[in-house]
Amino acid sequence: MSKTAISVSNLSKKYGERMAVSHATFEVPLGTICGFVGPNGSGKTTTMRMLLGLITPTGGSGEILGESIKHPEKYLPRVGAMIEGPAFYPALSGKENLNYLAILGGFSTNRVQGLLEQVGLGDRAKSKYKTYSFGMKQRLGIAAALLPDPKLLMLDEPTNGLDPEGIQEVRTLLRALANEGTSVFVSSHLLSELELISDYLVMLRKGEVVFTGKMSDLMLDQQPVIIAKGAHDGELETLLAIAQAAGHRAMIRGGAVHVEGPARWALDLNRAAFEAGITLSQLTPQLPNLEETFFEMTGEK
């Protein structure tokens, strides 16, 4: 029995000249909730489609529950998934849609009503799918993913369109499933959606994995930042050069220079700026902030 729920190595997908996913390499341990974050178009859905055998990778390899992704029939019976939003037959009811998928997958239809209740659709089970609200459709998608009583659950932006209560319910549900031993791989373009529930994180930027590891490591990884600004325009470049010359990573953002470094280095920066004839109008040490890091790791550089 393998120890990883998902393990991919150099997984790539090229569309024409564009690499939608480029040499993605990461592992998701069994029994954890793994957040899969990246901005729009970073390749989350494409990666998930490759893991489900829907599209063929142009390079690399992967394993799900110990089986190669070249043979999806070996692991898919133990995997539940919702990719790129819910998709059902509009003229069938929620219940009929789930019955359809249950029979297709060779599962018992006995669980269907229970699942509908679990996602809060118990009283609308017999309404046609096309009469559902956006959030209800999303919930039906989650119920469908739970049909096989999965060892691995793959959800692509499951909280999209849900109200705050719904988002909370999904979090509670995922946590409960993980506690029972289900591995969860869940994507979002917002780290804030996932930071509360993820044990593990894979971060994508333009098809490349920029971070993979425990959530707690990401926090440790984070550098405090010093934000500095001169009294006059055009001094930012000089400040940037000073910081870089001192061996710090720095960049200009939002009309100020952001320097990675401990708060005490602010004193050195102040002195160097003074020597360069710059009077600082702002000098703020800032503590690590996840969203900021995410932005830094996944944003344009």
Partner: protein, 268 residues
Amino acid sequence: MWNVAFSELRKLRRPTLFFGTMGAVVFFSALFSSLLFLLIDSPDGNSDRGRVVGRDVLGLATGGVQGFSSVGGFLGIIALCVFAAQTAQEYTYGTLRNILVRQPGRMRVLAGKFIAMKLFALVMIILSGIISVTASILLAPRAKVSTDLWFGADGRHALLTTFINIIISVIGFGTIGMVLGLLLRSPISAISFGVLWLLIVENLLIAVKNSLQDWMPGAQLAAIASGGKPRGMTTGIEYSHALLVGGIYVAVGAVVASFLFVRRDVSN
């Protein structure tokens, strides 16, 4: 494969789809067969394209299934539409990804869907047969058509062969519908392309150059349904020729579409 077929049948038994289609089948079967007898003395003809089918022809052993046979081409077009829509909508609804996650064997998905749709087509054909034969039996006395030969051994044989020919033809049309659905991935394009081709383009081409009749897919399948050359006619397509050429079209289409379906990325 059977799981796919069973689940597919649940979709096909949806009341609007099932009763809608069967309603159309009943209506047109009754209409075609009734007109054959009701308009028997009309100078504008009583059969498709203004052909006149006289009392002598209707009085033959095959007379009882004449109506059934003429509605065969129409059943084919219905099958084409149903098969095309049921296949292509998996792309437009995005439901194909759910299907393939639950059943990654893509050939099995195709085979299962095909079996379910064949059953649907079979129900359609049996219903059409019952309606058109019943209508013929009821209306023959009024039209002074002798029905003596209909109930003999030759009559039973005619019923059986017509039934089998219509099944072959309808499944051929349905397969073409499924192929179009897989290739075009949109119900509207697949149906409009299929219907326009069969009803308009082929007829135009044949009108321009008559010999093309022997090579058009729709004409072959229609000829199979009507059992080859109409009796007593010199023009028309030979049954065995229709079976061969039509079979080649359907087989090539099916192979190409399945190959693409199995290989192609599913990103809808």
